[in-house]
Amino acid sequence: MRSFEEEKKKRPARGRSLWIYAGQRFMRNKKGMVCLAIILLLYGAGIFAPLVAPYGYDQQNLGQALKAPGWEHPFGTDRLGRDVFSRVIFGIRTTVIVTVAAMAAGGLVLGIAMGLISGYFGRFIDSVIMRVGEVFLAFPDILLVILIAATLKPRVTEWVRGLEGTVGIEGIVRSGFVDYMVVFGALAIVSWVGMARVVRGQVLSLKESQYVMAARALGASHWRIIFRHIFPNILPPIIVLVSVGMGSIAGSEVILSWLGLGVQPPVPSLGVMIWDNGDISILRTTPYLLLFPVGTVAIIIFAFNLLGDALNDALNPKIR
């Protein structure tokens, strides 16, 4: 007779194999893999921008101003003779920082926490969180981001200046760090609601499931039920939402830059490049100044959306 231990060893862990199946389904999805490759390529280029870019983002060469795309400058040069290709790569770096940080703060931390609390504990706290969410949804998101960024920015800048004065460190404001913080903050505050709603809905249905009841009957703590039993099971929709949300945050960054609320020049961002050249006369004379940055943002957004779609197919196969 085999012992229980032996039996246990022979059988693969069930929870893990579901993820492996999903991974296999995803690998078979050509569309999803291509998108993943594109995103990794662009984000890699952005993260290692100083190594990848052939020129510096603020390296001027007035003799080479407004050159059309060619061998030396694949995306051409702008009015100051700066290499557009290098600037796009450094712009992607800003997009990488903004999307990752805003998603981490807003969608992942705020959104999941609010959704879990709301769905799991229910009652009064659920109503409060969901009503607050409705207030955020009632605002057109761009308007809210604008309002928050416009209000936060001077306050935060002032506060950091004061901090610099007392601590004696210089250059925090000048480094553009504050700009990043404001952009993350505004985007995070706006982007948590969607995630929270999805997480809440998932938790509500899982809460009644038999294995959660069983865990509760065995005396598991709330903490343990949430993180051992519920959280792993709501990961698939979260992963899909993260992918789609990254794309939309990349778009919002451009809007903030347009209003002068984003990252300040000379730090390059795709948004700044788009709005510096967002005119029909530019399209007539030197369209590459506008079309390359716009195209890059478009590719980032599209790739994240298609990736989300592919992940959805891989992780929620029953929906097909």
Binding site: L143, T151, G278, I280, P287, F302, N305
Partner: protein, 309 residues
Amino acid sequence: MGAYILRRLIWTPILLLIVGLVTFLLNFYGPGDPVQIIMQQYQDPAVVERVREQRGLDKPVLVQYGIYIGNALRGNLGESFKYRGQTVASLIGKRVWVSSQLGLAALILSIVLGIPLGMLAARWQGRWQDTSIISGALLFYSMPVFITAPFLLMLFVLWLGILPSHGWGGLFDLRVVMPALILGLPGIAFIARMSRNSIVEVLSQDYVRTARAKGLHELRVYWHHVLRNAMIPVFTVIGLSLATLVSGAIVTETYFGIPGIGRLALDAFFARDYPIITALSLMIAAAYVLANLIVDIGYRFIDPRIRYD
């Protein structure tokens, strides 16, 4: 059903009050002193204090908000800081008409193009036509206006030269086509995708098979049995797409030089014209919340299978 509607009706004004308060607080604690903006270069301290008192800007913020709401309910939204002597109501009134025309044009485009595209995709389900329509929908669904605008401008204005690029002449002017198309693209994509999925689902229902089996003409099957049922979820989406219309309008109106509320919001934002910003946020939020309320309630009338609790 009555209880559901009643609850929504009670909650809506509270929601709007909170939205107004949030905007009001953000403006209140935002940078710049409104009195300094009103006074411009005349900075006599005595006069500044008098103006502050006159406008009630020396009171606590919640009292100011209470007064504001009281006035707003009587149709008085205050006076613009930037445009001296013009009431906010008159400034918005002039432009809201332009914006609603543009929004209407975009909405019509998304319905008129979106639903047939979805029907075609469903008709050719699984074939290359279906794949290309759905991929296209996925591409445009989440593309912000500032990305589609340059490419469409290149195509229609610079290369084909068939559409004008700038200005505004009302709903029946050729100049409405470009901005409405750009503004409506996400809606077209979204509605196409929704209707395709919805139609595909309905096509597999038993009653469709029955209709075909009893020898009905294919068009009649579509019109009477498929579309009626498939359009119900699409209908709710139209309410949601209003939100995209509003945020898209801010960029589109600026891009095309259209004198609508999106443009006004932007100018007011740069000029720190708080009365206009607050009024516009409230108005847009109200429009959005009410539209969704109507869709939600209408949905339940159209489809009696939905339960309301």
